[in-house]
Amino acid sequence: MKKKKGWLSLLLSAVFLLSACSQGNNESANSGDSGNSGSGGTAPAATADSGTGGTTLAPAKLKIVLYGDESNRMKELAKTDFYDVIKKEINAEVEFQFLPWTEYGGGKTDLMLSTGEDFATYTDANYMVKSVAKGLYADLTPYVGAAADLSKTVDEASFTAFQLDSKQYAIPVGNKPNSAEFYSVLVRQDLLEEAGMKQVTSLAELEQFYDKVHALHPELIGYASTDARRMLQYDFTDKNLYWQNDFIALDESAQNDQIINWFESDEFKAYAKLMRGWYEKGIIPKYAATNVPQLQSDWNSGKAMFWAGTAARPFEGAATISQAVPDAKLVNYFLGTGRPKISRGTYSTAFFVSAAAKDPERYVMFFNLLQKNQELYDLFAYGIKGTDYTLDDNGRLTKISTDSLIPDWLLMNKNFIRFDNTVPDDFIAKYKAWDDGAIISKGAGFNFDNTPVKNEETKLNGVFTEYLAPIGSGFSDYDTAFPKALERLKAAGIDKYIAEYQKQFSEWYAKSK
């Protein structure tokens, strides 16, 4: 036995030594790269600012990672028209690499970043915070000027959402109405009318709607989700709540830096009791505690009465439901009035550049192209006019090929978007006016650095999934289950977590306001 161990340790130490050396080489190569990017980056900055770009730039190679399936047409265009246009505009050769969605914000993306590959792709604020802490993203602050055209069509709050310590780590793209996500109730208007009702403006009316339809169609379920805290806030609180994460909410109607410890608040108690009532009444079916995916299947197949709404859902959801219920009609309602809609910024996503990139600025110039003008937007989202799509006199779009190019949800910008002729005019009008009067959340642009409370946050997630999520969805009774849950929250360090969050938020709030 001893002899074996000896062999093993000898081998292992050899292995360590070997890979230590190789890692050293790797690091020196990287520092060499960053040196290059420093010198290479400053030179073309002037030309980028002049706007036209192209001719004076040194050739560059960029790799853009996108998630999803690469369609045949995308593959073709990437080698022809996209290639030519990008080459002409910013003198760069762009290679598109497609990864499965499972690798978004982790997985292979993480590996590519950690091993120093030169590429850019999109992200969300959470992943950004974690990756920046590990030094995986390039600081794009010096290059924001290269996105001058883009910043005219993407709002400013979207830029601040991707800043950390006032450094820009990702460039937002897209501009779409997305305030009050899930604050409205998306109601099956056809069922509502069948039950002899016209509209739903309060919780009482919503429950009445359920009772009436339940009498007519006992096989239908009520609410096809387990989280209704946003749509129900008109009943359980006077505040205008916006959730930062599972544990922390902000009151948007108060002009201060106070954060709310959601689970220990009276609002949570009131909300949990409402949900318990829904669960006992059958508005939320019994199986929701187990099979959440089934809820969405039920909604998609027309077996639910209402869902949480967004600006786009009345149209976007109808396509699926109408396969099962041809005359289904969807309408958004708010269960109360007088509270402004809250927005996090109108971006759809944001692109970052890997820390090892040789020429981060050129990447930013590429992002700029995506939202530069109608012509380029049409090209990247829809393809070649006449080959991939046609436009009618009203500017409505008809796609000739169904192959998706650079995904249009990603690019979607209300300044450029083209609707197809299945979308009714009144929906377009409503959709475009959705954000009118909306406010930007006072926490927009705040990104929590969890390093000091990593352990607490991790343990809290465990307590949340086991104890608090079931109370919040009404599967367990607040009065009987909460004491135990609270005990676990305390043991996991909720107080320390809240205090740290409050501290960081106050500091940031004082600085930014």
């Binding site: 790797n26 590990k134 997630n461």
Partner: protein, 328 residues
């Protein structure tokens, strides 16, 4: 000679004992030829070094706060802080460890029993087409993902519309709320595991039986042994070394659980967590959910070390039973 020895003691032990004297001479001879053994092992050694041992240097990351700029070896030391989230909530850590060991032990016992039983039975059957068809069919579940198995189980067990509860109702029995009965679900998980893996495991044992010298059976039949006697006295003892091997190979993974199974079959239902919160599930709903992958790999190391200790013990035990059964 072999035929005589076989019926009383079919293990290869007795044979080698008898031949021991003859062997010592050739042993020295074979030692001289060891060089060709190294040659045969070489490709495997290279693969193991390239794809297992060299990457193992990454284990160091478990004790580090990794950041890209400093690289794997330059990043600051973190000591055991990556383990803290798990072991500082001792209650959860113990429960997760207990659940993992309990479920794995049950899987191993029942899985082995059914795999061996199927192999032994198949070995008795004579209808070639029947063996062919059933053996292929029993292999199918291995290919069906847990998500689909979970969906099918759900249609059986759902409180309102589940087939079982409808059956209970029509028989005048009370409905069962399966998805809030953590201990009942242990049984369901065990059954699901048998269903999914028994056919696969059976192939391994069946192949061993196919390699057995048929003369043992002939001799037994001539002696007038019944079918049952042949099974218990010849077939099963023949499988013992393989059963020990499979158990030893499995024991190292005693603390590793199948996250996709629990996710697929229980949908991570919080009410079932008292028995289904295995280590991998706990790590998933804490560390992975928080994006703390360093924490996740730390716990993987805990699982490996624990498994390693178990294997060393089990290997000792196996050695007492039969020197040849040891893994190493």
């Amino acid at each position: 000679m072999i035929q005589e020895a076989a019926p009383e003691k079919p293990g290869r032990q007795s044979l080698s004992l008898k031949l021991k004297a003859a062997r010592t001479g050739s042993l020295r001879k074979s030692l001289r030829k060891d060089s060709s053994l190294y040659l045969l092992a070489l490709p495997g050694i290279i693969i193991l070094i390239l794809f297992a041992y060299l990457p193992m240097s990454g284990l160091i990351l478990v004790f580090k706060n990794y950041n890209y700029n400093d690289g794997i070896f330059g990043s600051p030391w973190a000591g055991f802080s990556n383990f803290e989230f798990f072991f500082s909530s001792m209650e959860d850590a113990l429960r997760a460890t207990r659940n993992t060991v309990m479920l794995n032990a049950l899987y191993m016992l029942t899985g082995t029993f059914f795999s061996v039983a199927i192999a032994v039975i198949l070995n008795e059957l004579r209808s070639k087409w029947f063996i062919k068809v059933t053996q292929s069919v029993m292999f199918f579940p291995y290919f069906i993902s847990w998500i689909i198995i979970g969906a099918i189980l759900f249609s059986l067990l759902d409180y309102d519309k589940g087939i079982l509860n409808q059956l209970f109702q029509s028989l005048g029995l009370a409905q069962m709320d399966w998805y809030s009965s953590p201990w009942l679900f242990v049984i369901i998980l065990v059954l699901a595991n048998i269903w999914k893996s028994a056919g696969y495991g059976a192939i391994i044992y069946y192949a061993v039986l196919q390699g057995i010298d048929t003369s043992y059976y002939e001799a037994a039949r001539i002696d007038g042994a019944s079918r049952w006697q042949i099974i218990t006295k010849i077939t099963i003892p023949m499988l013992i070394p393989s059963i020990i091997l499979m158990t030893l190979l499995g024991i190292g993974g005693m603390l590793k659980g199948d996250l996709s199974m629990i996710m697929g079959v229980t949908f991570l239902n919080p009410l079932l967590l008292p028995t289904t919160d295995i280590i991998d599930v706990y790590v998933y709903r804490t560390a992975i959910r928080s994006g703390e992958f360093g924490f996740a790999s730390a716990i993987t190391l805990y699982q490996s070390v624990f498994g390693f200790i178990l294997v060393l013990l089990a290997n000792k035990l196996a050695g007492w039973y039969d020197k040849d059964s040891k893994l190493f």
